[in-house]
Amino acid sequence: MISAIYDLALTTGASRVVRGCRIEHVCGNPTLGAEKDHAYGLTIIRTALGALTAAVTGPTLFDPTESPPETVHAS
């Protein structure tokens, strides 16, 4: 689920929780201007779709505002 009140969603046991922007505009941010708003919204939805493909064992937060961790190979 995508929710701006993501901590509540996690507390009540939702398995895959995506951090939305604000209660009044969960999947975007009108203050960013049209272009950036669109890009941000798309990132939220991509994060949500990615969450569907992730194995989780319990309530897990997926945060679209964090860049995914880079894979470092030690070789």
């Binding site: 689920m1 929710s3 398995s15 209660i23 009044e24 999947c27 919204g41 939805i45 569907l52 493909t53």
Partner: protein, 349 residues
């Protein structure tokens, strides 16, 4: 002193002493006396009520010949015209508990007060707790004396048609009903008393029982997003402009689904949010904030997802009791499952 009530008792073949599974096909029969467990019940009722008849049916008969059994019980109750019907106790029994609850429902439909008793986890409770007065018992018939005492007390009360107090006071399982009433102290005073008791470590009882959220195991991950059908659901109260279906703005009893197969995005002026829990002006300007159809179409075209499910599901997720939310969620989930939807994005405001 109140006059002696006329009670009818319902028992299965086992508690009537007819036998176990071998006698479970016994059709409905009526005996004009207390039978089996009914003798102890008669003792518990004392001078307040007399068991004028016992209705007996085998567990399999009541379950397999449901309509016949129900009709026979109804006919018997019409003929006997008792003041109260008492069924069981059934303890943890599955078929017997359901039969007891159904006998109580039949009595209720005939205008006869009725009460039964069984374990809170029994199937009869799960199915009928909202409709039937059920005294909680332990799982085992070893608890018979205590169960009969509680059952008899409540039977006399409902038989006399005395007003029934709250479940925890009267000793029956909560039916999920709220009744208006007056309390001696105002809410502010009661809340402060409760807080004081909590701080002092004294016991107190909340007036709003806490229901722990159900633990739902996570669904396995989607293996192939590019082939999956994805659905959109929102609790943001989205409705077509003008709210043509008359959806409520909170405490939803229903959800609605709307066809989106022909739509590329949600346009302002065609949709609006009807939701008492947040300021909806921004969603009214861009409905995709709660139902991200535009983004999903982009990702569908790019091949990120297989297809977007042709229906969008929506309701206002505010002031909704957990039980109602569960019922609505189960309905949506069942429809998505039937449509072979692989994954779902739920936007919650």
């Amino acid at each position: 002193m109140a006059s002696e009530l006329r009670a009818v008792h319902y028992v299965n073949q086992f508690f009537a002493g007819l036998g176990g599974e071998a006698a479970a096909g016994t059709p409905v029969q009526v005996r004009r006396e207390p039978v089996g467990a009914g003798r102890a019940l008669a003792a518990a009722l004392g001078a307040h009520a007399r068991i004028v008849a016992t209705v007996i049916a085998g567990d399999n008969y009541f379950s397999d010949e449901r309509e016949r059994a129900r009709a026979a019980v109804r006919d018997a109750l019409r003929e006997l015209a008792p003041d109260v019907v008492i069924a069981g106790p059934a303890f943890e029994a599955g078929r017997y508990g359901i039969a007891c609850a159904e006998v109580c429902r039949i009595a209720g439909a005939e205008g006869i007060p009725a009460v039964t008793a069984m374990h809170p986890g029994a199937p009869g409770v799960l199915m009928y707790r909202r409709e039937v007065l059920i005294v909680p018992t332990s799982a085992s018939a070893a608890d018979m004396p205590a169960a009969l005492g509680a059952l008899a007390r409540l039977a006399v009360k409902v038989g006399r048609r005395e007003p029934l107090g709250p479940a925890d006071v009267e000793g029956y399982l909560p039916r999920g009903l709220r009744k208006s009433g007056e309390r001696a102290e105002p809410g502010s005073k009661r809340a402060l008393d409760m807080l004081e008791a909590k701080l002092a470590g004294r016991p107190y009882a909340s007036e709003v029982p806490y229901v722990a959220p159900e633990v739902v195991p996570p669904a396995p991950p989607l293996r192939d997003l590019a082939r999956a059908q994805i659905a959109l659901v929102t609790t943001g109260g989205l409705v077509p402009k003008g709210n043509p279906d008359g959806q409520t703005s909170g405490n939803a009893k229903r959800y609605f689904r709307y066809p989106i197969a022909q739509l590329e995005t949600l346009r302002p002026g065609e949709w609006e949010a009807y939701h008492v829990g947040y300021f909806t002006h921004l969603v009214d300007r861009n409905p995709n904030y709660v139902l991200p159809l535009g983004y999903m179409r982009e990702l569908e075209k790019a091949g990120v997802i297989g297809a977007l499910h042709p229906w969008a599901y929506t309701l206002p997720g505010v002031s909704t009791p957990v039980a109602a939310a569960r019922r609505l969620g189960e309905g949506i989930a069942a429809q998505l499952r039937d449509a072979r939807v692989g994954g779902c994005l739920l936007v919650s405001t």
